[in-house]
């Protein structure tokens, strides 16, 4: 009997360790609504990954690499703005369900700094931070769900104060839901932010895992 009790104690201890480490990383997937605007925080190429994920999940979206609040206010269709040098806009939302002008219900940020990307868009880290703050403020004021995704691993991380970390600081603490790859969260930084701000966070192994999550979120 004593041996059985010890066995139970060990099992309980192991389960406790297992859950204490996995629960913060695998919170229940929250729900969000369409239509979606995808964008970049830092102009890395990872927003392309997010867009491909949404397509794979069968979800329509609008995309702009450097939207400002005028485009958010304009809603679906991005005010018919066309791509040009240093500016990309795509309308992939199902316009039959969500006609032009329909307010966005969710904004998904792909977080990661790219000097190349910011240079191409004529941005500096400071102007990018300021732009993100305007968008986030608008989202908060208008109850638009903010999802923040970091799938770039250590390549899109850095020392405190580096461009990548500034992008994380600009977006993650204000998100309604954070999704990161395990490689991105090796130091637990996203878990710490999520815990301190009580934000649900999901850790994934591969970008492919995002497909199922997006399906659940927008079910």
């Amino acid at each position: 009997m004593k041996a059985f009790r010890n066995f139970l104690a060990v099992i309980s201890f192991l389960l406790l360790i297992l859950f204490s480490s996995s629960v913060p990383a695998q919170a229940a997937v929250p729900k969000a609504k369409l239509p979606i605007l995808t964008t970049s925080a830092g102009q890395s190429n990872d927003v392309t990954t997010v867009n491909i994920v949404l397509e794979e999940a069968g979800l329509g979206y609008d995309y702009c690499d450097v939207p400002d609040i005028d485009m958010l206010k304009a809603g679906v269709g991005l005010a018919d703005k066309e791509s040009g040098p240093g500016f990309h806009a795509e309308v992939n939302t199902d316009l039959a369900k969500y006609p032009k002008g329909t307010p966005y219900q969710t904004v998904i940020f792909a977080v990661g700094a790219s000097l190349k990307g910011m240079g191409a868009s004529g941005l500096t880290i400071e102007t990018e931070e300021a732009r993100l703050k305007r968008i986030i403020d608008y989202c908060k004021q208008n109850k638009i769900c903010i999802m923040a995704v970091h799938v770039g691993g250590t390549a899109l991380r850095g020392a405190p104060g580096s461009d990548n970390e500034r992008m994380i600081d600009a977006v993650m603490p204000f998100a309604d839901y954070i999704i990161v790859t395990k490689d991105s969260n090796k130091d637990g930084r996203f878990t710490t932010i999520a815990k301190s701000k009580n934000i649900p966070l999901t850790e994934i192994d591969f970008a492919l895992d995002l497909v199922g999550i997006m399906k659940q979120v927008f079910q």
Binding site: T48, T49, V53, P85, L115, K116, A120, G153
Partner: protein
């Protein structure tokens, strides 16, 4: 001239200028916006390739102009090693572009902090090699040059899932391969099995040995790939440059139609066509043959339509095969993969090509007012020439089959901008690289770093370019041209010793290469000092005669006139 005449003259001049400017976009470069919309990879590296029967001495030659501007330029030597059964080789993510502040350490130590988690079985013996941003030359005379070519956007896989970046692939190829074909097969298979991408997208490598030179191009397969999928994690293709041909890669995919039955000239991953079909990049029903570059890395424009931003392809063929008379309006996608040069190419010819600024062509950077009074090609940068101010270093890898590997393989290395730098030979067999090649970055002046010696000269050349560059050319004649001319004698001495004792032969090469490099670096620091003194205050000082040339700088008449015209138009006389 009274003010009324001046006013009329100014109006007429202005009208002419407006007319010229209004015509330029339509006649030459399409829209001016095109200048700036190019992906920045267009500003990156140039690879020139010379097959063995197209070179003067029967060697194969490849370049890598490591054009970046903010990257790490340091070099390392890696020793050969024997490995016990069961040993594993760790695979690291290596970002081409990433640098660390000197106080944190050196790149070629710190990159090992980004272990991918993948270990692959070691081979019994790995070869010695030299590397900078990529592996360049091993002791078996495997040479590599690199150019970023980009790929269709949906194929990028910037997630950490793929284990291999392009740099890591080149290092593994250096460690394990003796021939270009072996290297291509190894890099392709590793990338397929473990995934390719993360820090890199579409990439081109010139892979050569003493007999063959190949263009190897590789793409990721999109961010949703996982190793558990059972599908290849990369798609790749390779084409051999015919033995009497030369070729080039200026950040654009160069492989068109492929014939996989012709294994001596084409290789590819098994799904090269089917993957393109699955992803909507090629339609077999279109009636058109499959083209690798049009499917995976299409690029629009020509030399003229981009005002020279895509001018390197045209310029290369213009230099080496002017008899082809290729029109600069030709879309880049329509260029031949390779061409037979009008005359055989020497390693010095290749050095000169890396210094090319499209002089005397439609894209000359110093024509008109562009170069200022001193004909400086670095002032007005619309045309992307083979030589770029963003270059970290340039390699010219040369494989010579008539010599043993350690003597036959040479990496000619120059730091910084080619026109003010000096190529130094590093034989494949040497057991180290100079200490000054291993350190330094762009942000802290370091007099122990070789690269800074060349930047020091380059900086002081800018002041009175057309005069100072002549002084630099004299130094290049003294150090570079003599090294090129004397390499046969070094080969001979090294070979004699090597045949008696490999160790003695290698020691001789060590002594020659390291001493020569140290001497060149010292000479360039002195040259920088001399230029500073000679062109100080633009007075062209003669230190021997202790005089200065009072008639200097002699501004050309056209420059003086240009100033008058400018003043007349933009700074009208104030009464």
């Amino acid at each position: 001239m009274n003010s009324k005449k001046l006013f009329i003259g100014s109006i007429m001049t202005l009208a002419v200028l407006i007319l010229v400017f209004s015509l330029l976009p339509r006649t030459r470069q399409g829209t001016t916006e095109n200048l700036f919309v190019d992906d920045l990879s267009q500003d990156a590296c140039t690879v020139i390739m010379v097959a063995k029967n197209a070179s003067v001495d029967g060697s194969t030659i490849a370049t890598h102009t490591c054009d970046c501007g903010v990257c790490d330029w340091t070099w390392r030597h890696v020793d050969a090693a024997d490995h016990k059964p069961g040993e594993m080789r760790k695979i690291y993510h290596i970002n081409q572009y990433k640098t660390w502040p000197p106080q944190e350490g050196l790149k070629w130590d710190l990159y090992q902090n980004d272990f991918t988690g993948l270990e692959i079985p070691e081979v019994p013996h790995t070869y010695a090699y030299h590397h900078g941003m990529f592996g360049y030359m091993n002791e078996q005379q495997l040479g590599i040059g690199e150019s970023t070519i980009g790929c269709v956007k949906k194929l990028y896989n910037n997630t950490p899932t793929p284990a291999f970046d392009i740099t890591m692939l080149t290092l593994i190829a250096m460690e394990r391969c003796r021939t270009a074909r072996e290297a291509i097969q190894l890099m392709g298979s590793l990338a397929e099995k473990y995934g390719y991408g993360y820090n890199d997208g579409g990439e081109m490598l010139a892979v050569h040995d003493p007999n063959e030179i190949w263009v190897f191009e590789i793409m990721p397969v999109g961010p949703l790939w996982t190793p558990k999928s059972g599908k290849p994690g990369a798609v790749w293709c390779a084409e051999r440059v015919p033995d009497d041909h030369v070729s080039v890669c200026p950040n654009e995919s160069r492989i068109g139609e492929i014939d996989l039955k012709n294994k001596d000239y084409h290789m590819a991953s098994a799904h090269v066509v089917s993957f393109a079909v699955e992803n909507g990049l090629y339609d077999p029903k279109s009636g058109k043959s499959f083209s690798w570059k049009r499917a995976y890395s299409p690029a629009e424009g020509s030399a003229t339509s981009t005002q020279g931003r895509r001018g390197r392809l045209w310029r290369f063929f213009n230099i080496v095969a002017s008899s082809l008379n290729i029109n600069p309006d030709t879309p880049d996608m329509d260029y031949p993969f390779s061409a037979k040069p009008d005359k055989k190419i020497s390693v010095q010819d290749v050095m000169n090509m890396t210094r090319d600024r499209a002089q005397g062509t439609l894209f000359d950077r110093v024509k008109g007012l562009r170069g200022g009074p001193f004909g400086n090609p670095n002032y007005y940068g619309t045309t992307r020439t083979i030589s770029s101010p963003t270059v970290e270093y340039t390699t010219i890898t040369q494989c010579r089959g008539w010599l043993p590997g350690p003597i036959g393989g040479i990496t000619w290395l120059s730091f910084g901008l080619q026109d003010t730098s000096c190529y130094m030979p590093l034989y494949a067999g040497i057991t180290d690289v100079p200490a000054s090649f291993k350190i330094g970055d762009h942000w802290v002046l370091n007099r122990d770093s070789a690269r800074w010696a060349f930047d020091y000269v380059d900086f002081h050349t800018q002041v009175a370019y057309n005069a100072a560059i002549e002084d630099v050319k004299k130094a290049q004649a003294e150090w570079e041209a003599k090294a090129v001319a004397g390499i046969g004698e070094i080969d001979k001495q090294a070979l004699e010793l090597y045949n008696k004792s490999k160790t003695e032969g290698i020691a001789y090469l060590d002594g020659y290469c390291l001493t020569n490099a140290d001497n060149v670096v010292k000479a360039w620091w002195k040259l920088g000092d001399d230029l500073l003194v000679r062109y100080n205050k633009l007075s062209y000082y003669d230190t021997e005669k202790r005089t200065r040339e009072r008639n200097k700088p002699a501004y050309p008449d056209w420059w003086k006139k240009a100033i008058k015209v400018y003043d007349a138009i933009l700074e009208p006389e104030e009464k």
